[in-house]
Amino acid sequence: MDWLNDEVLRTILATLDATLRVSTPLILCAMAGLFSERSGVIDIGLEGKMLAAAFAAGSLAALTGSAWLALLAAIGVGVAMALVHAFACVTHRGNQVVSGLAINVLASGLTVVLGIAWFRQGGQTPSLPSEARFMPLQLPLADTLASVPVLGPLYRDVISGHNLLVYIALTIVPLTWWIVYRTRFGLRLRAVGENPLAVDTAGISVARLRYSAVLICGALCGVAGCYLAIAQNAAFVREMTAGQGYIALAAMIFGKWRPLPAMIACLMFGFLDAVAIRLQGIELPVIGEVPVQLIQALPYILTVVLLAGFIGRAVAPKAIGVPFSKER
């Protein structure tokens, strides 16, 4: 056991710590996508909504200096974008993939144009002082319990010391599970994604249910965007989502449209990312120094391997992508 020295232990703890930080926007986005897709509306616009929300949060925090106002603005913008999606896909029965793509393109262009026009910093928002951000919180007793073997350091270094939005993301997961599986709204939500006609026959509005689901999705994307711009970083930077919306979508499909497995998939992506960051340039026993390119490809290789061999068939909600028309 001599390899398990302090150095190794610290690295492991630091990696787990980073995993939580990196996974947070993924978890929020995956839960967002879950609501939308469970109701039968495909959402590839997670990325765009998150980006627009990040810009809103960055701008509002820079203008007002209040992290809470920024969070509200981010949620507002996320919901507004979701409303566009719902209007196109539910009210007008448009193609859901095209609408989602349009939202991504819109967000990618609009954030940069507005950013340049308002702040004149090449699409960035001004960098924020710590009062205007969500800063790391020390959980109670973190230092007192640190002497407890294994659990103490785990609590102090991994669980404690994150910002509020990380903890929100972690509570959203059981909450999503509870809403989807234990409430009347959740039952109807699942039903409308499987067989909207049956829901309609029962006298419940399909459009209303889908609208609510898509709007919840927008709000959660808003929180994710806010996290990126004012919690993890201290400014909005153009294209800062860097494909995380798509990774979250993949994680949700990994998790077969279920909250807990989706979260685990997000944590796995986050963990691989954290490992990739930490393995760069480190000499490993036996193998020696691992080439950077291999490390960076690792998450993608594992995705393919896991998808092909271990996850099994992912069955989507039956009515997904099909606009509901009453007349049929």
């Binding site: 610290r10 690295t11 630091a14 980073a18 930080r21 990196v22 940069v112 340049i116 004149r120 910093q121 090449g122 699409g123 960035q124 960098s127 710590s130 990126l228 993890q232 970083n233 201290a234 400014a235 930077v237 153009r238 294209e239 800062m240 860097a242 494909g243 990312d273 954290a274 960051i277 930490r278 760069q280 340039g281 950077v292 390119q293 960076q296």
Partner: protein
Amino acid sequence: MKLLGTLALLLTAATAHAADVQPAVVFDMGGKFDKSFNQGVYDGVERFKTETGIAYREFEVTNETQREQALRRMAQRGANPVLGVGFAQAPAMEKVAAEFPDTKFTIIDAVVDLPNVQSVVFKEHEGSFLVGVLAAMASTSGKVGFVGGMDIPLIRRFACGYEQGAKHVNGDAEVIQNMTGTTPAAWNDPGRGSELSIGQFDRGVDVIYAAAGGTGVGVYQAAKDSGKLAIGVDSNQNYIHPGTMLTSMLKRVDVAAYNAFKQAMDDSWQPGVQVLGLAEDGVGWALDEHNESLISADMKSAVEGVAKQIIAGDIAVHDYTSDNNCTY
């Protein structure tokens, strides 16, 4: 009266020239307010504008396909000289410059071998050597870090010069290097920049040099949040976080941009390759009111001594791109 007369004479001279030169600049991805490379060029051409009163045309490239179009449109509209910014514009310029043999083209950071192209490149390894010296002297742990943007030879040249500088003052110094990615997205990923920095801090690093475009913003923020030091790049970035920005490696792209326009105006513009190093004042390090408290008199005299030795040829700084290897 005499003064007025001279002034009038000067003004007519300026307007006479104004008819001859119609300078144009094509900024690259990142945009003219990227607080770094492109902004340096912007400062240079703005100086030209205020000094001569000659306006210039500009374009900001926002996706890869626009480079060639933008350069060609400038040339078609009669702009002369046309300034291209960044290594990524080299293939586009090679094509367009061949189509317009009578137009003067200048490219910064790349070499295009055509009779009507002026190529300006910098000895980034010399400037990086200097900040490496400062980093190793400021570090208490003897471990200094480097975060690069996209993994290309140009960025390896920064890293290699930095490593040599750090080892020059402290033979035992450990230099931990990370690259953000292998795609252009790596220039704009502050979240990953911050994670890479935290990873390096966990391994004992206390000074990080970022040569990563917009990703650097995340590195500087992480350094500020963790109370460590960071080193900026290209433009003077000391002002971003006064007190935790040790210094910045200056690459005088502003001088290069200014000279290209000015020389075209004076008819002294020459095609061919210009290599700007320490001796030509093309690279350097930044000392201003934001970091003077971090630079001790010892450090200042040491780095100035090293600069003299490099100029005199007593210290040969190895250029990574000469043999794609960092052995010196």
